[in-house]
């Protein structure tokens, strides 16, 4: 513990207030998401416990508000606070899953392409270029339009298909450089197998830039999920995420019911800002070349 506290990295972290703020925000949201079931006054995803009678209530401090719904309710009688807590969980599940899955896919494909080169590399990178040529949102919308059912799984799958490319490209660049280093040549000369060279010698040294991409990508994926749900192709209707809450709320903005958009919107912004602050520090720390 002592060594961590005294390490150069920790020192740089403690000297960067915005990074600390970012991490605090992130941890708060993580806590809320993990314990949403206990923190939330109601379960907005349980159809039987949502009552239409409580629809469109303003926040509790306004006229007509109810204490049971501190931030008001939406047009189906779901509490905004509860839905935000559950929506946070959705956002984080999607973002962590997508970042994990697509980074693994991207790393494996990118490394193989860069290490073996030739036709395999050309094939993988042309596939990556094709995906890269379209905007991630567009690809995800098209895929989700083709899927039969709606759910978190399909959202994650669709985003992963569009998202692995950036990892593949990043790792490919590093591997192309590292594979010519003397220690790799030495490993080849001493008869190490390809698998060992790739995962023991090359991968650990190619990872730092990937960590930076992952950190930034967390925020990107959260926004993407929100976008897809806003457009109505994301999460199921009965389980709104932050993006869908905003989509529902926008119909009522002109009717003066601002709370349905404002609170989930602020939450989304805070979360993305928090991640970006932390990612910024991580980038400076891990990527001194930039």
């Amino acid at each position: 513990m002592k060594t961590i506290m005294q390490s150069r990295r920790m020192h740089s972290f403690l000297g960067d207030p915005s990074a600390i703020l970012g991490l605090i925000i992130l941890l708060c949201f993580l806590f809320c998401a993990l314990f949403a079931g206990m923190l939330a006054p109601m379960n907005p995803y349980d159809l039987a416990s949502v009552d239409l009678a409580n629809f469109l209530l303003p926040p509790s401090w306004m006229d007509g508000g109810m204490n049971a719904f501190p931030l008001g309710t939406d047009d189906q009688g779901r509490g905004i606070l509860s839905t935000i807590l559950y929506g946070l969980r959705t956002s984080l599940i999607v973002s962590v899953s997508v970042v994990t899955i697509s980074s693994i896919i991207g790393i494996v494909l990118g490394m193989l392409g860069a290490y073996y080169g030739g036709l395999l590399d050309a094939f993988i990178m042309r596939a990556a270029d094709t995906v890269f040529a379209f905007s991630t949102t567009l690809i995800a919308v098209l895929l989700l339009g083709m899927f039969e059912s709606r759910g978190l799984g399909t959202v994650i799958l669709a985003i992963c298909i569009a998202d692995w490319v950036k990892y593949a490209r990043t790792i490919r660049g590093s591997v192309l450089e590292i594979k010519n280093y003397p220690y790799v040549t030495a490993a080849i000369a001493s008869g190490a197998r390809d698998f060992r060279i790739l995962f023991r010698h090359i991968l650990p040294n190619a990872l730092p830039p990937i960590f930076v991409v992952m950190a930034v990508d967390m925020a990107v994926v959260i926004m993407l999920e929100a976008t897809l749900s806003f457009l109505g192709v994301g999460v199921p209707l009965t389980e709104p995420s932050l993006g869908m809450m905003i989509a529902i709320g926008k119909n009522y903005i002109y009717a003066g019911m601002w709370w349905m958009v404002l609170f989930p919107g602020l939450t989304l912004i805070a979360m993305v800002v928090g991640i970006n602050l932390f990612a910024d520090w991580l980038r400076e720390e891990l990527n001194p070349k930039l």
Binding site: Q76, G77, Y252, Y254
Partner: protein, 506 residues
Amino acid sequence: MMRKLFVVPLLTLALAALPALALAKAELVIATDAPPKSMNPHAYSSDANLSYMSNFFDGLLQRKAPEGALVPALATSWERVDDLTWKFDLREGVKFHNGNDFTSADVKFTFERMKDPKYSKLLNIANSIASIETPDDYTVIFTTVKPVPWFAETMHQNFIVDAESSADRDDGDYNTMPIGTGAYKLDEWVKGSYVRLIANPDYWEGAPTYQVVDMRPITEESTRFAALAGKQVDIVNGVPVNLYERVKAMDHVEVISQPARRAIYMDISNMADTPFADLRVRQAIAMAINEEEIIEKVMSGQATLAHQIPDPPTIGYDASIKRLDYDPEKAKQLLAEAGYPDGFPITIAGPNDRYVNDEKICEAVAKYLAKIGLDVTLDVKPKSIFFDELADKKHRFYLIGWFDGSFDFGRSAEKLLHTPDDAKGMGVYNGAVFSDAGIDEAIIASSSIIDRAEREAALQAINRQSVADVAWIPLHYQQDLFAVVKDKDITFMPRSDRWVVVKEIK
């Protein structure tokens, strides 16, 4: 560098002035909630498309605002000669927009073209015609394949095209440039922006009041509201229900709320080997839905409770029919009696961009069904996908709306209630697949009854039977909301079919 700096603001100015100039030309701007999809009058049977077409074309007959009474248009009189024969006397001296004379040849050409799936979605009425005779230039005699009591009732929406020019126009032109006899000619159709209409000075009913009219399809509800608040439009067809109170509070606007003809209902199956086969299950579902709460909350009060599918002016409406009362306890009990004390999985399907608050109604229904213990999945999607799935009979329980343009429940029953039978053209919209031999028989029998009172009684019996058997669960009739800007002295009478027939606006 200096020159470049000067050009940029100038260009910006010019660009900013463009829409202003364009707007200044229209005397009347009407916002609607759906864009036209084609200028071929037979390409779509949706009321949105027909509404645009009613300005460029005329039918043999027309319906007048507000109730929709059937009156002469291109035909001056009509009669049902016998079971299968209909005779129309045509108006003389009418000209198409291109100067061609309107004659019986055009009528014959139109109905023959309507049989071609390449040009037409109005196949139902077209294919019911066995032969068309034109004894002279101004008489048309139709013979139908089987008795079609409502044949004349659809003649307001079968728009007549010009035979001479249409025959050899290419499809691209035919689908974008309407040549009809209507009160307005198409000046410009800017997709996604507006449709500009220019008055037809030689119109047979007299030239319309407004010379240049813009119809602006604005699909997004809040944008439609903003256009009204910003005084960019004079008439809005389809004021968002959620914003009713806000629009009413605007000083410069008058809001007209009138009952719509469209009934919104849950269609339900009775297919064997599904829980729905048991009448008690269907009754339980009907009793679980608190429709009064849906009207009050989801619809902001802008809807009327429906006890049956047809609306009061329709032949076959029966005022004595009462829907099942909301009673979740009784519903649970019925489910238990039917052998489902712990419920069963049920999917609620529906469109999310077709009817007022369709998605939210589905969601509310989902909640009510969850409360009686069913395991609910919600499956709402855009209408383009949803209606294809209905045609494939994919869903057993879904939300849909219906109004019968012909004011005849017999026609509705053939399409919605009769067992699906593609060969006979029956039950085409019976997507949930409800099937009852007795009802089928009664529907077929009713179409041969010529006496109006006798036929009405037969249709009422079918209607009563369908509600008693829970062949469907009526929810509500929509309320149509229109807004008219006050200080421009516009006389606008909304139509029950929601068409915007511009010649009726004074």
